[in-house]
Amino acid sequence: MSYYLVIFAAGFAGSFHCIGMCGGFACALGRDPRGRAVTAERHLLYNTGRLTSYCFMGVLAGALGEAVASSHGMGNPLQNTPLDTAQRLLAIAAGLLMIVMGLQFFGLLQSFHRVVNIGFGGTTLAATFRNLLSSESRAAPIAFGVFNGFLPCPLVYAFVAQAASTAASLTGFLVMLAFGLGTFPAMLMMGGLGQVLTPVWRQRGVWLAGSFILVLGIITLGRGLLPLDSHMAHAFAPGSG
């Protein structure tokens, strides 16, 4: 459980980073003139859509990790330990990826972000999605949340990598669920918080999120590198939660 709490906390801290990009969207969703209840509903739907995208990616990543991990050591029950070679490799890869992402939050390794950002008409899409927000339709926020979830974001990639390293669809799902829920408070309050929060605090939030990701990445890397019975590796393994 503690593992997911850490991720929740990381999501919470990281959501201050979101204010830059996704916060803009959330603000655009804004206040509905039809009243507070409708406004709340819109924001809730938007975040549900976002959460669904995250969870979907988490499950996929987990399943993918599982497929990679179980493709080795199959048919040999002796080798089928929770941390066989493939899973170790997976953990190392995910750990490294997370460390890279984490460093990015401190303004290092900027070029990586550019690599990630190359996509088909990403900016056009984002602009169009923003316009989607002004639609009166009740379903619009949920649709928008879904798309938003897939917009390139290093924070999300880092946790998807983490999800993959758990090598099971359920744990992958839970990782992204915890992360997504962690981003809820900030994003829900975005309307007001965005203005109140000074850039200094926002920067601190980003650093905090970076630290979380860095630590998680190092732990994940450790799970791959350290001997099987390492105390630290087990303490934070998703299975222990």
Partner: protein
């Protein structure tokens, strides 16, 4: 809009096949070649106040939301999360999945259902029928399974396949539109607006409404919409689309600007000199549109294969299910059948040829080369023999003096006297004489009583004595004496194919001027470049053999057939054609139209009217012979890409089909790979736009030297042809 306008996709500018879809979006009639383009177009033009685009995105968002939830739960199910103690939850989860799947199916599948229905009413089965059938079967089976309480449900497969197909076709269409971005300005010209500057007020008017005398304003970065003269402002323009050569040309007040050229860095006010719809630019745009809307042979073949393949795949799918259901449970067999239907969906095949040819046509058009249709590119790429006409193609058709043999008089005197006579004449040879005199700053000697004798020459009087310039017969008629050595020289020059002008005065022929057609400066380099491309170059000309051979030697053509009538030229082309060699014929398009039409690829230099008359299939810009090797390179690359696209598309479909029938390929995976395959074709085709701009083969130097190449006093024979070339 031209008649071909209806046949191009509003989004990606590719020709629309038989499966085109029409939608009215925001009050505008739009046609799309595929569903993906329909989505991508709406996303692109989508603005918040426009309901269509927003509605489309909402639908996809909600569809994705439902699908992802289904997939999420299903993956957890597969992972055995709800096994053991939680097993009692299963029926409820199945019900939940059903509840999610039904709206997802309706939302995401509606366009496919609709297309299938519309086509089915016309008795056609299209690729979307494969999707509908496969997905419908998976859904229906899962509904029964849920009601029966069975564990095997495939709602995830049904909705995920739809989702991936939609997403895949969107991504593909977005990529395709990106690829075809170059075409946009070429197609937009007809609907383009010009900014009319009228007493300070600026109004936007369609180009076709612009009349001569109107003043239009052209901002930097805009294309000049009309032919005209600059009345205000200074800037640089790029006329690549007209001349083929991309370079900056400075423009100031009084400079002429050409429609279609790009205004680079300063605002201009341009007074229009011709109707907006009559510019070469407008003509280029019309021809590009026409070319795009005609299908190439290979494209037709691919379309036919696609048409045939759909029913075959349906049968194969049925057989696969029947076969597998004997050995494994029916639901598994059904899933394998679904994978077969999905993976065989021939989207990529339909995309393989048109994208590459469209890009090729657009690429050529932007450098001023007009192509009649997609088939031309194909033929040009496969051309083995390239035949040239001489006059007006390799040569300028404007003679110039290449040698003066004189006796008893200086060259200057000869030129001065001859020019005094010839400046009164409009004859082509006469102009060569005056030009030569002017080039050497020789003042013509005043002549009086000038009379031109048609077919013979011209005579007059200077200072009381008769002067004449013309043929040898003319000199004899006048009773001028001719020194034997000079006569011998003249005869040998005439035998070598030169035109000869005798100049005489005071009862005696004083000089013999030999004239030759001017070689285009880039002709030799062009022929060399064509050779390097592995083409066999021949010269087919109606001129006499000596002249033809000399020109051929200058440009480096070994295979010469001279003295051919137009019919004989056509026969010569037919002979090559009979040897299964694809022959291109290059002419000036003015007097060899029928011959060009007879060749597999008729190439006209600078005469776009031939395109309309269908005599030429490729029209190069004026004086644009040098661009021909580049055009062939583009055509070859396009053809190579088309072939590799087709091979990939067919190969991929076949291999995937076999895998799916063997039960190896999951339907969801099949759908994902299907989309990525289309994307790969787009990326592959994009290579075509990476071809660098054409570059002049060598610096043109002095275009047509008017100075005689050699001047000799007395008698002597010296070859002069080589010298002429080396100077060129």
């Amino acid at each position: 809009m031209s008649k071909g306008g209806n046949h191009l996709c509003s989004h990606c500018s590719l020709p629309i096949g038989i499966r085109g879809m029409e939608r009215t979006l925001n009050g505008e009639e739009c046609t799309f070649c595929c569903y993906g383009c329909c989505i991508a177009y709406q996303v692109k033009i989508g603005r918040s106040e426009e309901w269509d685009a927003a509605w489309l995105l909402i639908r996809f968002g909600v569809g994705a939301f439902l699908t992802m939830n289904i997939m999420l739960i299903s993956l957890l199910l597969y992972a055995g999360t709800f096994g053991g103690a939680d097993a009692w939850l299963l029926p409820w989860i199945h019900l939940l999945l059903w509840a999610f799947a039904t709206p997802a199916l309706i939302i995401l599948g509606e366009p496919y259902f609709r297309e299938t229905w519309i086509q089915a009413k016309q008795g056609r089965i299209t690729a979307s029928a494969l999707v509908v059938l496969g997905v419908g079967a998976a859904y229906a089976y899962s509904v029964f399974a849920t009601i029966e309480g069975s564990e095997q449900i495939y709602f995830d497969t049904a909705t995920m396949v739809l989702m991936l197909f939609t997403l895949g076709s969107y991504i593909e269409a977005a990529g395709r539109a990106k690829a075809a971005r170059d075409l946009e300005p070429l197609l937009a010209a007809e609907s383009e607006c010009a900014t009319l500057a009228d007493e300070g007020a600026e109004t936007r008017r369609p180009v076709r409404d612009i009349k001569p005398g109107m003043v239009v304003s052209v901002k930097p970065g805009e294309r000049v919409p009309v032919d005209g003269v600059v009345v205000e402002g200074e800037s640089h323009t790029d006329e690549a689309v007209i001349t083929g050569e991309s370079r900056q040309i400075a423009k100031g007040v009084g400079s002429t600007v050409i429609a279609g050229s790009m205004n680079l860095d300063g605002p201009l006010l341009v007074r229009c000199t011709g109707a907006g719809s009559a510019t070469r630019w407008a003509q280029i745009c019309r021809s590009v549109r026409d070319a795009l809307s005609r299908r190439s042979p290979i494209q037709r073949l691919a379309d036919r294969v696609v048409g045939v393949s759909v029913p075959i795949v349906l049968v194969l799918g049925g057989l696969t299910v029947a076969y597998w259901s004997q050995t494994i449970p029916f639901d598994r067999a059904l899933l394998i059948g679904l994978a077969v239907l999905v993976v065989a969906c021939p989207c990529a095949v339909g995309l393989a040829a048109p994208l590459a040819t469209s890009l090729g046509i657009g690429r050529l058009a932007r450098s001023g080369c007009l192509v009649r249709d997609a088939g031309t590119l194909e033929a040009l790429a496969r051309t083995k023999v390239i035949a040239f006409d001489k006059t007006g193609t390799l040569t300028s058709g404007r003679p110039r003096i290449v040698g003066i043999e004189s006796e008893g008089a200086g060259t200057e005197e000869v030129l001065a006297r001859a020019a005094g006579l010839e400046r009164q004449s409009e004859h082509g040879l006469a102009r060569a004489v005056t030009a030569a005199a002017a080039a050497r700053s020789i003042a013509p000697v005043e002549a009086s009583n000038i009379r031109a004798v048609p077919g013979r020459g011209i005579r007059g009087q200077t200072g009381g004595e008769p002067v004449a310039a013309g043929s040898g017969a003319f000199m004899r008629d006048l009773g001028f004496t001719l020194a034997p050595a000079l006569a011998e020289r003249a005869r040998s020059m005439e035998e070598s194919g030169y035109s000869v002008i005798y100049v005489g005065w005071a009862g005696r022929v004083h000089a013999v001027m030999s004239l030759d057609d001017t070689l285009h400066p880039e002709a030799r380099a062009t022929i060399e470049a064509l050779r390097r491309l592995g083409l066999r170059v021949v010269l087919l000309t109606g001129d006499l053999a000596p002249a033809a051979r000399r020109i051929a030697a200058m440009v480096g053509i070994e295979d010469v057939q001279a003295g051919l009538s137009p019919e004989a030229k056509q026969e010569a082309l037919a002979r090559y054609h009979a040897k299964d060699e694809i022959v291109a014929m290059v002419g000036d398009g003015l007097n060899d139209g029928p011959v060009l039409a007879k060749a597999d690829v008729g190439i006209a230099v600078g005469s776009a009217t031939d395109l309309a008359r269908e005599t030429a299939a490729l029209v190069l810009p004026k004086d644009g012979l040098w661009i021909l090797p580049w055009a062939i390179t583009v055509a070859r690359k396009g053809w190579g890409i088309t072939l590799s696209n087709l091979m990939w598309a067919f190969g991929y479909n076949l291999i995937a089909l076999v895998l799916a029938m063997a039960g190896v390929l999951q339907p969801v995976l099949a759908a994902a790979v299907m989309a990525s395959s289309s994307l790969l074709l787009v990326v592959n085709s994009l290579r075509l736009s990476q071809i660098p701009d054409p570059e002049p083969l060598e610096s043109p130097g002095k275009p047509a030297a008017v100075e005689p190449d050699f001047v000799r006093h007395g008698v002597g024979v010296r070859p002069i042809a080589r010298a002429a070339v080396e100077r060129g």
